[in-house]
């Protein structure tokens, strides 16, 4: 094995640091990017990007999904190399070829999906890649001391001997930050750090980031949440479709301006819809308990009812049981307790073909993750247009599949939903995110189900398609169908739902009226801070209404 250094110093104490601070006088910027370009085939992910990041600041980078933020940071971190352009660190140009190089320049990154080895201890994870000795013993001992010092200095307490898979997501993120600091990072890049955190964990993170900044570290925060930008950053850069459209001082801007810069035109925040006319209870969930693959109880006795003609939105921070709730109600995941009733009839969803029975009973499901779940991307479009309905009498006789009928049906839906390209023989992988979502939506709405379950309907979908998808969902509601909507985008829930249920830690902690509830109230509920006065969806009411 080769190693970059064989000195006794921990990486954090390497001489490089001194060199960096002497060069500091040369530039007030820790990082300067000039005319960065990066293409992935036909996709121009970064075009002529300029970015200057001031030393000792928190610099936010906002943009929609796919705007090129993560690509840009991966270039800075050496995970990709730019096709052209210059990177200067502390005023000195560098060609960063790999992450080891970036680390040596004092650039550390906290990835959106943590880069941790689950069955290693925190200590082992921290030293991985920067062990200063061929034997582990001395490295571990030194790291233990250094970790203690860092924990003290930056308020980042962890148990070094805890195993990663046993600690909370918030702690795992701390380990990622500690990893970067241990490697002597002066510049810390955080990619969508709050996506997996509860609001209180996010607050903790922001506190840590402020301490780091005040200690002289430079922080680059990638996010698509404007609230976070306003709360923590000193500067903000906005990216749109691979280009850098503006860099502003945070105190001189506001969310509206940033939102406009992000999408390039005024966003239609409110969806046009009339009042709801709720009718009979179509979907009644009573005291539902669901466990995940590891046997952890993720849904802890949830009860609610959805009536025909209304959209019930479930709001919450990702990872509070929404995914398991959807998977269970739609028959993909076994229930550990409770009942699900459709128009009064209990659904039996046990076994690994539960989704089949749910569909037969009139329950359709647009899943949260269309690429992983809702589609077989290697299939041709028409094949996906019958996924889950392949045994429908319309598509064949007996065991034989009527391919002609299936293709014809697919063509009809392509026309109706304006799916492009309009070719049912094309591999599904070659459709854009929005068009893939339309394929799923068209399929699930085709049989006019009584209940439609929708998870993250517009994740990774372009703006034009978002409006179309929202309108389709409302059209279904107006046709008297019951719709259960789950989204982590609070804006989407607030503009679509007629009633909002807030989920926290596997439970429904409150109900709100989207017309009157403020973002702050919802945020508190999402953080698990419930007001006793809040209307908690009553299991009795749901059961009563269903029977």
């Amino acid at each position: 094995m080769t190693s970059t250094t064989q000195t006794g110093d921990t990486p954090a104490q390497r001489p490089r640091k001194a060199a960096a601070s002497s060069a500091a006088a040369a530039s007030e910027f820790a990082i300067e990017l000039e005319k960065i370009n990066k293409r992935f085939g036909p996709v121009h992910a970064n075009r002529d990007i300029d970015l200057n990041v001031r030393r000792g600041s928190v610099h936010g980078i906002v943009g929609e999904n796919g705007a090129g933020k993560s690509t840009l940071m991966s270039i800075l971190y050496g995970f990709y190399t730019a096709d052209s352009g210059e990177i200067r660190v502390d005023g000195v140009p560098h060609r960063i070829t790999d992450s080891r190089h970036a680390l040596a320049l004092g650039i550390g990154m906290v990835h959106q999906h943590f880069m941790l080895v689950d069955n290693f201890s925190i200590l082992e994870n921290v030293i991985l890649g920067v062990e200063d000795n061929a034997l582990l013993g001395p490295s571990l001992e030194r790291a233990r001391k250094e970790l203690e010092r860092l924990a003290h200095e930056y308020n980042l307490e962890v148990d070094p001997d805890a195993i990663i898979e046993d600690v909370s997501v918030g702690t795992q993120q701390r380990v990622e930050i500690l990893k970067a600091l241990y490697r002597g990072a002066d510049v810390l890049i955080l990619d969508e750090p709050t996506g997996v955190l509860t609001p209180s964990e996010a607050d903790d993170l922001f506190r840590v980031l402020r301490v780091l900044r005040d200690e002289g570290k430079t922080i680059i925060l990638i996010t698509h949440k404007l609230r976070e930008i306003m709360a923590i950053t000193d500067y903000v850069s906005v990216m749109r479709q691979g280009a850098m459209v503006a860099t502003l001082e945070t105190r001189n801007t506001d969310p509206e301006e940033l939102a406009e810069l992000m999408v390039g035109r005024r966003v239609l925040l409110r969806v046009e819809k009339g009042p709801a006319h709720p009718g009979e209870v179509f979907l009644a969930v009573d005291n539902l308990v669901v466990k995940d693959d590891l046997g952890v109880t993720r849904v802890k006795g949830v009860s609610f009812a959805v009536r025909g003609g209304e959209i019930v939105g479930i709001a919450g921070v990702a990872g509070n049981g929404q995914t398991e709730l959807l998977e269970s109600v739609s028959g993909m995941r076994d229930q550990a307790g409770g009942t699900v009733r459709l128009k009064g009839t209990p659904l039996s969803l046990e076994g690994d073909d539960g989704a089949h029975r749910a569909r037969k009973s009139g329950l359709a499901h647009v899943p949260e993750d269309r690429q992983r779940m809702g589609l077989v991307v290697a299939f041709e479009e028409w094949e996906n247009a019958i996924l889950g309905y392949e045994d429908d009498p319309a598509y064949g006789k007996g065991m034989i599949l009527d391919i002609k009928a299936a293709r014809e049906a697919a063509r009809r839906r392509i026309a109706e939903f304006d799916i492009r390209p309009a070719n049912e023989r094309l591999k599904t992988a070659s459709f854009s995110g929005g068009n893939q979502q339309k394929i799923v939506l068209a399929r699930e709405m085709e049989r006019n189900p009584d209940v439609l379950i929708v998870g993250q309907p517009t994740r990774g979908v372009d703006i034009g398609a978002i409006e179309f998808i929202h309108n389709q969902i409302i059209k279904m509601r107006d046709a008297g169908k019951a719709i259960l909507l789950v989204s982590v985008e609070l804006d989407e829930i607030r503009s679509l739902a007629d009633r909002i249920l807030v989920m926290f830690d596997g439970q429904i902690v409150g109900e709100a009226d989207p017309a009157t509830a403020t973002e702050g109230e919802l945020g508190l509920m999402m953080a698990g801070v419930t007001d006793r006065k809040a209307t908690v969806a009553s299991p009795v009411a749901a059961t009563g209404a269903a029977s």
Partner: protein, 321 residues
């Protein structure tokens, strides 16, 4: 049974478990790094042939061992190129290596030595012979301990000692060195290793080459230690028993040794029991032969404990865009 009979059965156990142990430890390195290896059998067979052929041609056991190791390393390199660099299907690569070994060793053997695939019979200096450990003969007279030392511990060939020495070494490498830490990490989460600035590709090649090295010793054991010359399909599926042992031992070095000893013992027992009966019941030798496989299936199915391999095993590493 008297002590002598027990000792001779255990002695056979050690001998029979040696190639299993070497091959199983070989597989441990590769699989811990995230590269499934069902080609242990093929690499051993290649090494056995090369060792047998070279030892015969050059009249030297050492050249034989060297040739066996080199050929095994080259085969491992080929498998690595397919599985790591070209990101091919690791299982299919293993199948191909096994088949290539079966075909090539026989084909070349017939062509070169014209003895139906056998390599020439090796003389004493051309194969590893039994080593008598210091004082073994002197201590033989001491009851039990002396006998155990003389009959069981002493009197094996060099490769046997290498195999059992490889166990603590592997344990130390895996759990006490930087390389071991990285090896375990790359089999669990190669992306974490990559972002830490360590080359996944390089690490996996290192692991696969260690696998090749150990398979070289294992193969040489067949043709120039246990046997005196190579014979057609000499490894006779031992590579798969070694794989079974690796799974049975949950990819951990010390349990690997214990499992290989168990499987070796079953083999020794099977030879001893040919045609004999225990308590009046004749146990078919085939039942004992099949036992390692049956045990592994039962363990894999989670009926006794659960064997879960390295998480990233079997998946070629690709940087995503």
């Amino acid at each position: 049974m008297d002590l002598a009979l027990v000792l001779s059965t255990l002695d056979a156990t050690i001998r029979l478990s040696t190639p299993l142990l070497l091959a199983s430890l070989a597989g441990l390195y590769s699989e811990r790094s995230g590269v499934f290896d069902i080609g242990l059998e093929g690499k051993m067979l290649m090494a056995a042939f090369a060792a047998g052929a070279a030892a015969a041609v050059f009249d030297s056991v050492w050249i034989g061992l060297f040739a066996g190791i080199m050929v095994s390393l080259a085969t491992a390199g080929l498998q690595g190129a397919a599985a790591i660099t070209l990101k091919g299907n690791q299982l299919i690569a293993g199948v191909a290596i096994n088949m290539l070994a079966a075909g090539l060793t026989t084909f070349l053997g017939i062509q070169w030595f014209a003895q139906g695939g056998r390599t020439p019979q090796l003389a004493a200096g051309e194969r590893f012979t039994e080593i008598t450990l210091p004082f073994a003969d002197e201590l033989q007279g001491i009851p039990v301990i002396g006998q155990i030392y003389h009959d069981l511990i002493s009197g094996h060939n060099l490769l046997v000692y290498i195999a059992f020495l490889a166990v603590p070494i592997t344990w130390f490498v895996l759990y006490r060195t930087r390389f071991g830490l990285r090896l375990r990490a790359v089999g669990e989460n190669p992306k974490a290793v990559d972002t830490a600035g360590i080359s996944v590709i390089r690490l996996r090649y290192q692991a696969v080459l260690i696998t090749g090295l150990l398979c070289g010793f294992a193969g040489a054991f067949f043709s120039i230690a246990q046997g005196s010359g190579f014979g057609n399909n000499m490894t006779a599926g031992k590579g798969f028993i070694a794989l079974a042992a690796l799974i049975f031992a949950k990819w951990k070095p010390v349990p690997v040794m214990l499992t290989c000893l168990l499987f070796g013992f079953l083999d020794a027992l099977q030879i001893r029991l040919q045609g004999q009966s225990i308590l009046g019941v004749q146990i078919p030798v085939q039942a004992i032969q099949a036992l390692p496989y049956v045990l592994t299936v039962v363990l894999l199915a989670g009926f006794i404990g659960k064997a879960v391999g390295p998480k990233a095993g079997g998946v070629p590493y690709t940087k995503e865009r």
